[in-house]
């Protein structure tokens, strides 16, 4: 019988190393992919991957299913660790590959799993974002840059950056809302 992520997390809290290794087998590639996207360096991405799972080992009890699905939570840990390393090593985002067209269909397949809250249609909207909106969003999401830092980095007015980020995020929010008819928080807002 295949255990769910929640069951494995419970086992991890009980000190079951096999449960951690099972989650590693399930998600190490996703974690590694996100870490590599930020760091563009194999060894650094490996380090963050292992740090993510050791942090999961130490802090599995901090996951709250009421606040969201496990996979996004896990990948947020990865992204935060990677950004932290990125900053400490003073890397330059322009030294990384920008606006990479990721494996859209593969992500949609991966994220459509029963343990994920990341819906494929949302991924489609993401890939259809105009480049001018995607770029500042990626700089914020993958490199932890603030709007001010992005404006300076791209040599754009701060107001322009704010507008582009807001517009792109509005589209993602609208797409998520459109796919969540049962979402208890769904109300009309402007």
């Amino acid at each position: 019988m295949t255990l769910t992520d929640a069951q494995l997390l419970n086992q991890i809290e009980d000190g079951d190393e096999a449960a951690l290794l099972t989650l590693h087998e399930r998600y190490a590639s996703l974690v590694y992919s996100v870490a590599y996207r930020v760091l563009n360096d194999r060894m650094a991405a490996e380090e963050v991957t292992q740090d993510t799972f050791m942090r999961l080992w130490d802090k599995a009890h901090t996951y709250d299913s009421a606040k969201g699905a496990f996979v996004p939570w896990l990948l947020t840990i990865t992204r935060r660790l990677a950004i932290d390393l990125f900053r400490r090593q003073n890397r330059d985002p322009m030294g990384q590959t920008m606006l990479i067209d990721g494996d859209r269909e593969r992500w949609e397949h991966v994220l459509a799993g029963e343990h994920s809250d990341l819906r494929p249609t949302l991924v489609a909207v993401l890939y259809e974002l105009p480049a001018e909106q995607r770029q500042p969003i990626e700089l914020a999401y993958f490199y932890g840059m603030t709007q001010s830092q992005i404006a300076e980095y791209l040599d754009l007015p701060l107001g322009t950056v704010k507008t582009r980020i807001r517009s792109g995020m509005e589209r993602l929010r609208a797409a998520w809302m459109a796919e969540s008819p049962g979402n208890p928080n769904r109300t009309d807002r402007t």
């Binding site: 190393e17 951690l20 290794l21 590693h24 190490a28 590639s29 996703l30 974690v31 590694y32 992919s33 996100v34 590599y36 490996e46 380090e47 991957t49 292992q50 740090d51 799972f53 050791m54 080992w57 130490d58 802090k59 009890h61 901090t62 996951y63 969201g68 939570w73 992204r79 935060r80 932290d84 990479i100 990721g102 494996d103 593969r106 991966v110 994220l111 809250d117 990341l118 819906r119 949302l122 991924v123 993401l126 990626e138 999401y141 993958f142 932890g144 603030t146 709007q147 980020i165 807001r166 792109g168 995020m169 509005e170 993602l172 929010r173 797409a175 998520w176 969540s180 928080n185 807002r189």
Partner: protein, 257 residues
């Protein structure tokens, strides 16, 4: 700040892209307005898809064995359970023993990773003799800098003060009337640097004395920081290196008003 202005900041907040001042305004609104919290949850749900912009790569096969070696090394050096005073952190000699064990296991890269953990900030514990005595020492110095501890909506009774050495290289926070903690909760200190980045300052619980003293783990002079604060977290602290998961407990503003 007007409600509509806060709403406009939520998309960037969901990305973690706000500057320090705007972020603080949003967090004040989040603490008091459930509609703002609900709307933020929608933006965060949309933002979760951004991970799909990462090209998919297969994790190297050796990572599984490496993880097993890490777990084995941790198992070999973890001391017996102690009362919840500080997060589980191996003291220096345990690290050296772990490194030796790892060499025996033939996983040299793990030794590097374990020793690197010494770079992490030390845990902050309440009622340390050093905290209270250092506070007294700094308070008596001419030219010491003082800042007020400001409570949050979590508990308006929290009070205290931050004292900083005249050189700006040592600081202690004195806290009174911290809210009670359950056995599975802990406070986590956060430092916000001049770039607006949050840094984990360690975990602490309230002292059994009238006041709790926390020596702030400064890695730079005080003028390199914007503020300090603390959040209420589950035991072991936030799973994220730079982001609290629980409500704010207090804050200390350092910049000039």
């Amino acid at each position: 700040m007007a409600h509509d202005d806060v709403i406009e900041l939520l998309p960037a907040y969901a990305l973690g892209a706000l500057d320090e001042d705007e972020r603080r305004l949003v967090e004040e609104a989040l603490a008091s307005d459930p509609d703002v919290r609900a709307l933020l949850a929608e933006y965060e749900a949309g933002a979760a898809s951004l991970v799909a912009l990462a090209p998919l790569r297969e994790a190297p096969e050796h990572l599984r064995a490496d993880l097993q070696a890490r777990l084995a090394a941790r198992r070999a050096v973890t001391p017996p359970p102690t009362p919840l005073e500080q997060p589980r952190r191996e003291p220096r000699w345990w690290l050296m023993a772990a490194a030796a064990l790892v060499v025996i296991l033939g996983a040299g890269i793990i030794a590097v990773l374990l020793l690197r953990e010494e770079d992490e900030p030390p845990p902050v514990t309440p009622g340390m003799g050093n905290g209270a005595s250092l506070y007294t020492e700094l308070a008596e110095q001419d030219g010491a800098l003082w800042y007020d501890v400001m409570p949050t909506e979590l508990d308006p009774d929290v009070s205290g003060a931050l004292v900083v050495s005249p050189e700006g290289d040592r600081a202690v926070i004195r806290l009174e009337d911290l809210p009670p903690l359950s056995p599975d909760e802990v406070f986590q200190l956060w430092l916000v640097d001049a770039d607006g980045q949050r840094i984990d300052g360690g975990l602490f619980r309230q002292s059994e004395d009238d006041a709790t003293y926390i020596e702030v783990p400064l890695a730079a002079p005080i003028d390199r920081y914007l503020r300090f604060g603390a959040s209420l977290e589950p035991a072991g602290g936030s799973p994220f290196p730079d982001k609290p998961t629980g409500p704010g407990v207090f804050s200390v503003r350092l910049e000039e008003p």
